[in-house]
C-alpha cells in the first residue's frame, strides 16, 4: 500500500514540474515542487541535499509550503510536512545560524496566513524546533489563542525555546461534558436500535461536529439498507458540513454489503452525480466512488479531462479501486485521452495512438515504472509525433532505460542517427554521469557548431557532478557567448556540498576574479556566505564598497562571522560597517543579531594579516636555527641577520599581491615570534615534479607541502603532516590536496606542544605533539618565529593571517623547591616528560586535562622511572570524578592498583560514593591503607597534593593536611584491607602514572624530587 502511494504522489507532483529543467535560475516554485516530488528522502545525503536546496528559497519557500497545508480531512499534507519539518531540523545543524534565523523568522511570518488551528499548531511546533529568542515575542500572543490546539502548541514551543518546563499546575479535572453527552446518545441507541435512524437524524442537526461524528459512528452498528437510503436522500437538503459528514461516513460503510447495494442504486447515482459538481464535496465523492468502483468508473475516467486537482483525485481513485491495476491505467489512457479502441496490452498499446497529452502522460507513466521492456515504444516517440512529444520521449528515456545500460544504449543509439541529429542525445548522455559521456560532450562542444554546439553546452550546464567544474571554469575564462553562463554554473558548482567550505571558497575566489557582471558577483558572494571560511569573510569584505554588490557582501560577512563565532578587532570593524548598510526586509532582525553578537564578542585582536601583499615588511631572512641563534652574541646575530635579509630580498618576491618563492635560496621568517596561535594561509605549488615546501612552526620543521605524485619520497600520504616527527605521528590523516598547480589552504593551530592542521577544510593533523627537530631531547620551543620553507621549487602564498592565543604562564619552582632540588615534570606548556595516552590527556590552558570523549584508553606515564621521591601536583575534579596516581608502576596493561600501588584520586564527598569502603577514599593506598577525610576542596576548586614515597613509608598530604601516613609492609602483613592480591605493592621503582580516562579532571604544576631511600 505504502509503495503504491508514494509512486502515485511522485507521479502526481510531476505534473507540476517543468519538463526540461535548467538548473540555473530556477524559481522558488520550481524548487519547492521539485523537492516535494522527492520527499521523503531515502538517504541522509539526499535529505541534506534536498533540504539545503529548499532552504535557498528562504522566506518565499516557507510561505509557499505553509500555504499548501490542507486542513485535516482535506487531504494529505505528508510531503509538505516532510519538507517543512526537514527544513526546520536541518537549519539547527552546525554552522547554519544565518539560515536558521531566516527560517524561524519566515515561519513566524507565515503564521498569519494559516487559519486551521491544527496546521497553525504544526507550524508553531516547527518554530519550537528552529526558533530561539528572536521568536519569543511573536509567539507569546498565541498563548491566548482562541483555539486550545494553538495555545497548547505555543506553550510547548516557548517552553522548548526557553529550555524549561512550563509552570507546574495541579493536574487537571476529569472528563468533559461533551464526553457525557456522547455516552448518553450511545446508550439511547443501544437501548432502542429501532430508533437509531431517528436519533441519528436529530443528532445530525447538532452544531457539534464531534457529536455528529459520534452519532454516525454509533449508527454503524444498527445501519440497514433503509437507513443508508434515508441518509442518501437527506443529502439533498443537508448543510454542506453535514453533507460532508454523511458522505465520508458512507465511504467508511462501503465494507457493508447493504451500503454497497444502496449506494450503487440508480437513485444514489443520481444524487451523487448531482452533488459531485460541488467543489467542496467532490473529493469525498470521488473517494466514495473509488471504493464502489463498477458503475462509477466511467464517471471517474471522465474526470480525467479536468484541468484542476480533480484530475489528480480521479486518477488516484482509479488506481485505488480494487482489481487489476492495469485496468484503471488503461482507463486513464483510453478515457483520459478521449480515444477508444481494442487494446491488446492495456497499459502500453494505446500510448502511441492517443493525442499528445495522452502520449506525454503515457511516457511519464513508463518512465515512473522504469518500463525497460517498452523502451521501443519510447524510442518510436522520439522520432514520430510533435516536438513536445519527442521532448517528453527523450526525457522518459532517461528513466526507462535501466541505469547500468544507459551509457552504452545512448551512445549506440546516438551513433545510429545522422550527424546533424545526434545532439538530441547529449542531454541523455549527460544524465548518465559517466566519465566517457562527459568526454564525448566536451569534445562535441569544441568541434560542433550551431544547434549541436548549443546542445553540448546545455548538456555541460546540466551535468550533475563536480567533474564538470574545471571545464566550466575554462569556458568561463574565454570571451565566447558561453562564458557568462559557464561562470554562473561554475559558481553554482562551487556551492556543492561535496566540497568542503574551504574548497568552495577557493573556487569562488577564482570565480570572483573573472566575474564580469554584478549578478555573477552577487551569486558568488551569496555562496561565499555559506562557506564558513574566515578567508571567505575577508574576501567578501572587499566588495562592501561597491553599491551594486554590497548587500550580498554584507550578508556574507554577517553570516560568516555569526555562524562561526569569528571575532577580533577587524571583524568588529567590519560588522559595525555593515550594520547601516543592510537593507532588506529582515534587516532589523539582522541588525539586532549583529548587535547582540558584538556585545558578546571578546575584546581581542583576532586574526591579523602578516603579509600586506605589497612588500616584505614584517619578514626577515633565516639565520641558522633557534638553538644556534640563542648561542650567538647579539652583535654576531645582527650581522648575520643583515646579510640574510639581503639574501631574502633576492629569493622572495611580491608579485600581483602574492608572496612568491622563486625556487632558490633560504627560508623566509616572521620578525615576530609566536607562542600559541592559529594561522590560515593559502598556498600553491608550481606544477613541477619536484614541488616541495613547508611551514615551520616556532622555528621548527614542519607542516609539509609537496607534490603527492612523488611516491619515491612517500608523498602519496598527502600534505599537511608533521613531516619531521619520529615518535609522534608524522603522516596526515588523509589526502586532502587539491590538484598540483592550484590553490590549497591551511588552517594551523598550535597550543603548547600540540599542532592541529586542516588542509582544504579537512582535518589532517589532530592535536599532535610537534617534536623538537633541532634537539629531540628538548620539548618544542615555547616561543619562536614562523618560517616558510625554501625547498627548491617555486611556491606562491597569499592570505596569511595569524591569531595569537592567550598563553598560560609556564609554572616555575619556588625558590625553596629549587633549592631542595625539585624538578618540573609539567609546567603547563608541554608534555615532554610524559608518554602514553595523549589523546585523552590533553594539554589545555596550562593544564593536563582529561577528556574521556576521545576514548582511546590507557594511562599517562612519566617517561622516566622513579623509586623514592616527593611528588607534588595540583588537581581539580569534576563532580564524582575518579582517577589515581600510580607509583612505581610498570608501563603495561593491567591495573596499577594491584601490579603497582595506586594513590586514589576521587571526589569521595560526592553522594554517589557515600557507601564506599574507607580504603577507597581519596588519598588511600588503594585497597591497602585508608586515608582520612575532610581536607578535599569542593569539585571545581584546585587542590594541592604531595605524595611522599620512601621505601615502605608512604605519606599523602592534601591541602596541607596529612591524610595518610603509613607503612605498606605493616599494613599488608595480615592481608590487605580489600582481601585481594597486590603483587606490585613492593615494586622498587617504576613510572608515575595518572590512571584512568573515564572522568573529566585536570592536573597542573607537577614536580618531583628524587630521594635516596632511608631505612
Amino acid at each position: 500500500m505504502k509503495k503504491i502511494y508514494s509512486i502515485i504522489s511522485v507521479f502526481l507532483l510531476c505534473s507540476f514540474v517543468a519538463l526540461a529543467q535548467t538548473p540555473a535560475n530556477r524559481t522558488t516554485k520550481t524548487i519547492v515542487a521539485d523537492v516535494l516530488a522527492q520527499m521523503p528522502a531515502e538517504r541522509t545525503s539526499q535529505y541534506y541535499a534536498q533540504i539545503k536546496e529548499l532552504s535557498t528559497t528562504g522566506e518565499e519557500g516557507v510561505s509557499q509550503l505553509v500555504s499548501m497545508l490542507l486542513p485535516p480531512g482535506k487531504g494529505s499534507n505528508a510531503n509538505v510536512e516532510f519538507a517543512l519539518s526537514g527544513w526546520a531540523n536541518y537549519v539547527t545543524g552546525e554552522g547554519l545560524e544565518a539560515a536558521r534565523l531566516t527560517t524561524a523568522t519566515a515561519l513566524v511570518k507565515s503564521l498569519d496566513k494559516v487559519s486551521d488551528p491544527y496546521n497553525k499548531a504544526f507550524v508553531i511546533s516547527l518554530i519550537g524546533i528552529a526558533g530561539k529568542n528572536e521568536v519569543v515575542a511573536k509567539l507569546t500572543p498565541y498563548l491566548k489563542d482562541a483555539s486550545v490546539v494553538v495555545s497548547d502548541a505555543a506553550a510547548k514551543a516557548l517552553a522548548s525555546i526557553n529550555g524549561q518546563a512550563p509552570p507546574k499546575a495541579p493536574l487537571p479535572a476529569k472528563s468533559t461534558q461533551q464526553h457525557e453527552r456522547i455516552a448518553a446518545l450511545g446508550a439511547q441507541m443501544a437501548a432502542k436500535p429501532t430508533d437509531a435512524l431517528k436519533l441519528l437524524q436529530t443528532a445530525l442537526k447538532d452544531a457539534d461536529r464531534t457529536y455528529r461524528y459520534a452519532a454516525l459512528s454509533f449508527a454503524s452498528e444498527y445501519a440497514t439498507e433503509a437507513m443508508y437510503a434515508a441518509l442518501v436522500q437527506s443529502l439533498a437538503k443537508a448543510t454542506l458540513e453535514v453533507q460532508l459528514d454523511i458522505i465520508n461516513w458512507l465511504g467508511n460503510e462501503c465494507h457493508n454489503p447493504a451500503a454497497r447495494r444502496e449506494l450503487t442504486s440508480d437513485a444514489a447515482e443520481q444524487t451523487l452525480v448531482r452533488l459531485v459538481s460541488n467543489n467542496e464535496l467532490r473529493k469525498s465523492i470521488i473517494q466514495l466512488w473509488a471504493k464502489l468502483g463498477g458503475r462509477y468508473i466511467p464517471f471517474l475516467a471522465g474526470m480525467l479531462n479536468a484541468t484542476d486537482e480533480t484530475l489528480d483525485w480521479a486518477y488516484y481513485a482509479l488506481l485505488t479501486t480494487k482489481g487489476d491495476i492495469s485496468k484503471p491505467i488503461a482507463s486513464f489512457l483510453r478515457h483520459g485521452c478521449i480515444r477508444k479502441g481494442n487494446v491488446s496490452d492495456p497499459v502500453v498499446t494505446p500510448i502511441p495512438e492517443t493525442n499528445d497529452a495522452g502520449k506525454i502522460a503515457g511516457l511519464k507513466l513508463l518512465a515512473h515504472r522504469q518500463a525497460d521492456e517498452y523502451v521501443y515504444v519510447v524510442m518510436d516517440l522520439t522520432t514520430s509525433g510533435t516536438q513536445e512529444v519527442q521532448a517528453a520521449a527523450y526525457t522518459a528515456l532517461k528513466d526507462v532505460v535501466l541505469p547500468e545500460k544507459r551509457i552504452e544504449f545512448f551512445t549506440s543509439e546516438m551513433n545510429k542517427l545522422e550527424a546533424d541529429k545526434q545532439y538530441l542525445y547529449y542531454p541523455l548522455l549527460a544524465s548518465t554521469n559517466a566519465p566517457q559521456a562527459l568526454d564525448i560532450i566536451t569534445k562535441r562542444f569544441y568541434s560542433e557548431s550551431g544547434r549541436a554546439k548549443e546542445a553540448a553546452f546545455q548538456a555541460l550546464l546540466d551535468w550533475n557532478g563536480l567533474e564538470v567544474s574545471d571545464e566550466m571554469y575554462k569556458i568561463a575564462q574565454t570571451t565566447s557567448a558561453y562564458s557568462n553562463k559557464a561562470l554562473d554554473r561554475y559558481i553554482q558548482l562551487a556551492s556543492d556540498d561535496r566540497l568542503t567550505g574551504e574548497n568552495q571558497r577557493l573556487q569562488l575566489t577564482q570565480a570572483l576574479e573573472i566575474a564580469r557582471t554584478d549578478a555573477q558577483k552577487n551569486a558568488a558572494l551569496e555562496q561565499l556566505g555559506k562557506t564558513n571560511s574566515f578567508l571567505g569573510l575577508r574576501l567578501a569584505a572587499h566588495y562592501l564598497d561597491a553599491p551594486a554588490v554590497q548587500q550580498r557582501a554584507a550578508l556574507a560577512v554577517m553570516s560568516l562571522a555569526l555562524s562561526n563565532n569569528f571575532s577580533g578587532r577587524d571583524i568588529k570593524t567590519l560588522l559595525n560597517k555593515i550594520v547601516p548598510l543592510l537593507n532588506n526586509p529582515d534587516a532589523d532582525y539582522q541588525r539586532q543579531a549583529i548587535r547582540k553578537y558584538l556585545a558578546e564578542m571578546p575584546d581581542e585582536a583576532g586574526f591579523v594579516s602578516i603579509f600586506n601583499g605589497k612588500d616584505l615588511s614584517g619578514w626577515k631572512g633565516l639565520v641558522e636555527n633557534p638553538i644556534a641563534r640563542a648561542k650567538m652574541k647579539p652583535a654576531e646575530l645582527a650581522k648575520k641577520q643583515k646579510s640574510s635579509n639581503e639574501q631574502m630580498r633576492n629569493d622572495w618576491l611580491v608579485e600581483n599581491g602574492l608572496l612568491v618563492f622563486g625556487g632558490k635560496g633560504d627560508n623566509i621568517c616572521t620578525e615576530k615570534q609566536y607562542g600559541d596561535f592559529e594561522m590560515v594561509v593559502d598556498w600553491k605549488l608550481e606544477s613541477s615534479p619536484d614541488a616541495d615546501a613547508g611551514i615551520y612552526l616556532r622555528g621548527t620543521p614542519q607542516v609539509q607541502m609537496w607534490n603527492i605524485a612523488r611516491t619515491d619520497v612517500g608523498a602519496e600520504v598527502g600534505s599537511g603532516g608533521l613531516y619531521n616527527n619520529q615518535t609522534n605521528p608524522s603522516k596526515p590523516l588523509k589526502v586532502a590536496d587539491n590538484e598540483l598547480g592550484t590553490w590549497n589552504t591551511f588552517y594551523i593551530k598550535m597550543t603548547g606542544d600540540r599542532v592541529t592542521v586542516l588542509l582544504n577544510g579537512e582535518l589532517v593533523v589532530d592535536n599532535i605533539i610537534l617534536e623538537n627537530y633541532w634537539d629531540r631531547s628538548q620539548p618544542i620551543f615555547p616561543l619562536e618565529q614562523l618560517e616558510l620553507q625554501a625547498h627548491g621549487s617555486k611556491v606562491y602564498y597569499r592570505n596569511i593571517y595569524v591569531k595569537e592565543l592567550e598563553r598560560p604562564k609556564p609554572f616555575e619552582l619556588s625558590a625553596q623547591e629549587k633549592k631542595e632540588g625539585f624538578q618540573i615534570l609539567f609546567d603547563g606548556t608541554n608534555m615532554h616528560e610524559w608518554t602514553g595516552n595523549f589523546a585523552d590527556y590533553q594539554l589545555e590552558e596550562g593544564t593536563i586535562s582529561v577528556h574521556p570523549s576521545h576514548s582511546f584508553g590507557g594511562n599517562l606515564y612519566t617517561k622516566k622511572e622513579y623509586a623514592n621521591f616527593i611528588f607534588r601536583f595540583e588537581f581539580q575534579l569534576t563532580p564524582a570524578a575518579n582517577n589515581g596516581v600510580g607509583i612505581r608502576a610498570p608501563m603495561e596493561e593491567g591495573d596499577a592498583a594491584y601490579n603497582a600501588m595506586e594513590i586514589q584520586i576521587l571526589d569521595c564527598e560526592h553522594p554517589v560514593y557515600q557507601d564506599i569502603a574507607p580504603y577507597q577514599h581519596h588519598g588511600s593506598v588503594y585497597g591497602v591503607i585508608a586515608a582520612e577525610h575532610g581536607a578535599m576542596k569542593p569539585a571545581g576548586e584546585w587542590n594541592e597534593e604531595e605524595i611522599y614515597a620512601n621505601g615502605d613509608h608512604i605519606r599523602v598530604t592534601l591541602n596541607g593536611k596529612v591524610i595518610l601516613d603509613g607503612n605498606i609492609r605493616e599494613a599488608a602483613k595480615n592481608g590487605t584491607l580489600d582481601h585481594k592480591e597486590h603483587p606490585g605493592l613492593f615494586n622498587k621503582s617504576g613510572h608515575i602514572g595518572f590512571l584512568g580516562h573515564g572522568n573529566e579532571l585536570k592536573f597542573k604544576n607537577i614536580r618531583i624530587k628524587e630521594l635516596k631511600e632511608k631505612r
Partner: protein, 418 residues
C-alpha cells in the same frame, strides 16, 4: 497494605550503595511478613490484560480511559475489584500496594512519578519512558520517595534470549571472562535472530474520524499534543507515532538492548555517540530505518540493523579474540572448558515481590532501566533529526546540538507536567 506496613518495609530495607569500584553491599537478610501484596493496573488494553498473572500479588483495581477496556478489565478476576477512569484515583487507592503501568509510553513518566509520590512501588511496562528527561525524573522520584521500581522486560535474568536460544547468563559470563577480547561489537538484526517489527509504522495522513463514544480521547492523549482523532493513533497501532512511542525501536528496543547493556557491563553509563542510516522521518508518523549504531567511550558498539539489512553471517558479538553467533555458537576453541574457571555473574533479585518485601533493588530497576531506555531514546532523537549525535553520559545531554537537546525533555500539553 497499610501505611505503617509500607513504612516498615522501607525502613527495614537496606540503603543501597551506588556501584563504584569494588561494589559494597550491606546485605542483611530478614523475613518479610507473608501477607499477599496487592496491585492495581493502569491501562487494561491488550498489554495490561495480558500481564495479570504473576504470582505473589492480588489484583484489586483497574483503570482505563476506554470504557470497553475497563469493563473487560473488571472481569479479569472473579472478585469484585475497583474500576477507575482516572489513574490518579487508582494511585491514591489505599488498597493498592503496587501500581502496574501498562499504558502507552507517553504516560509512563507522569504515572511513575505520581505513583512514587504516593509511596507506591511500581511495575512499569517497557519502554520505560519516551524521553530521556522523563526517565531522569522517574529515577529521581523513585529515589526521593524510596519506592521500588521494576521495568518489565526480563531477558537479562530469565527466558531464552531470542536468536541466542539461551538465557543471558552464560553470555554474560563469557563476556565478563574477557575471552572475547575488547572492545566488543554487538549486532542486533534479523541475521542474529532479532526482528525490529517494522509493522509499527505510522500513516502520514489520517482522516479525522469521530471519537468512539467509549473512549475519553482527551485523557488518552494526556500530555501528548491534541491531534484529530483517528483509530490508527490509539490502542493497537499507537506505536507508529512519535507522540506516543518510538515504533519497532520503542517496542522491542528495551527487550533487545537491555540484556546487551547488562552483558557489556554498561548499566551505569550510556553510549557517547549514535549514528543512523535511515530515510527522512515524518514529524508525526514513524518510518523505518536501515541501521542505528551506538558507540561507548571504550569503543564497544551496539549495532541495530532494521528489516533485512545487514550481512547474513554477522556475529552477534564480535570481539577482538573471538565471536559469538546466532544460537550461541562461539568460535573460540574449547571455550566452554576455558570458561569454567571464571566466576559466575553476580546474583540478582529477580522476583519483584522479594524486592518489595526486602527493599532490595530489583534486577532491572529505574537506574539500569533508565540507561537502556536512554539507548532507545537516543536512537529516536537521532532518527528524528537524521544526524549523528554525541552524548554526554554523565550530564545526560547531547553535545553541541540544541535541537537534539530540545527533544530530551519535551514540554507536555497543559496541564500535564512531570
Amino acid at each position: 497494605m497499610n501505611t505503617a506496613r509500607r513504612e516498615f518495609f522501607k525502613t527495614m530495607g537496606c540503603a543501597l550503595a551506588f556501584t563504584v569500584v569494588p561494589r559494597h553491599v550491606l546485605g542483611r537478610g530478614f523475613v518479610a511478613p507473608s501477607d499477599q501484596l496487592t496491585k492495581g493496573i493502569i491501562g487494561v488494553g491488550g498489554m495490561g490484560r495480558g500481564h495479570v498473572n504473576y504470582s505473589g500479588t492480588r489484583l484489586v483495581a483497574v483503570c482505563d480511559v476506554d470504557k470497553k477496556h475497563l469493563e473487560l478489565g473488571t472481569q479479569l478476576v472473579a472478585d469484585k475489584i475497583a474500576a477507575y477512569h482516572d489513574f490518579r484515583d487508582l494511585i491514591l487507592d489505599k488498597n493498592v500496594d503496587i501500581v502496574h503501568i501498562a499504558t502507552p509510553p507517553h504516560w509512563h513518566g507522569i504515572m511513575s512519578v505520581e505513583a512514587a509520590k504516593a509511596g507506591k512501588d511500581i511495575w512499569c511496562e517497557k519502554p520505560m519512558t519516551r524521553t530521556i528527561g522523563e526517565g531522569r525524573r522517574v529515577m529521581e522520584a523513585v529515589k526521593q520517595y524510596g519506592v521500588k521500581y521494576r521495568l518489565n522486560t526480563w531477558f537479562r535474568f530469565a527466558d531464552n534470549f531470542y536468536g541466542l536460544g539461551t538465557p543471558v547468563k552464560p553470555l554474560k559470563k563469557l563476556v565478563q571472562s574477557g575471552l572475547l577480547g575488547s572492545p566488543l561489537k554487538v549486532t542486533i538484526s534479523k541475521h542474529t535472530g532479532f526482528d525490529w517489527k517494522f509493522y509499527w509504522t505510522g500513516k502520514e495522513y489520517l482522516e479525522p474520524q469521530p471519537i468512539p463514544a467509549e473512549l475519553d480521547y482527551d485523557m488518552w492523549l494526556g500530555p501528548a499534543p491534541l491531534k484529530p482523532y483517528n483509530a490508527h493513533r490509539v490502542h493497537e497501532t499507537f506505536r507508529g507515532y512519535w507522540d506516543y512511542d518510538g515504533g519497532g525501536l520503542g517496542d522491542m528496543g528495551q527487550h533487545y538492548i537491555d540484556p546487551v547493556q547488562y552483558i557489556l557491563g554498561k548499566d551505569h553509563t550510556s553510549p557517547v555517540k549514535v549514528e543512523v542510516d535511515a530515510p527522512q522521518q515524518h514529524p508525526d508518523a514513524i518510518g523505518t530505518w536501515r541501521s542505528i549504531t551506538y558507540t561507548y567511550d571504550d569503543g564497544c558498539q551496539i549495532v541495530l540493523w532494521g528489516g533485512d539489512f545487514g550481512k547474513p553471517d554477522t556475529p552477534y558479538i564480535a570481539g577482538t579474540k573471538g565471536n559469538v553467533y546466532k544460537n550461541f555458537v562461539c568460535d573460540i576453541p574449547d571455550w566452554e572448558k576455558k570458561l569454567a574457571d571464571f566466576p559466575e555473574p553476580e546474583v540478582q533479585v529477580t522476583d519483584f515481590i522479594e524486592s518489595v518485601k526486602t527493599r532490595k533493588p530489583f534486577a532491572l530497576n529505574e537506574q539500569n532501566g533508565f540507561r537502556s531506555s536512554t539507548i532507545v531514546n537516543m536512537g529516536v532523537v537521532a532518527l528524528r533529526l537524521n544526524r549523528t549525535l554525541h552524548f554526554d553520559p554523565v550530564k545526560l545531554e547531547f553535545i553541541n546540538d540544541e535541537a537534539a537537546n530540545r527533544l530530551l525533555s519535551q514540554p507536555m500539553r497543559s496541564p500535564w507536567n512531570i
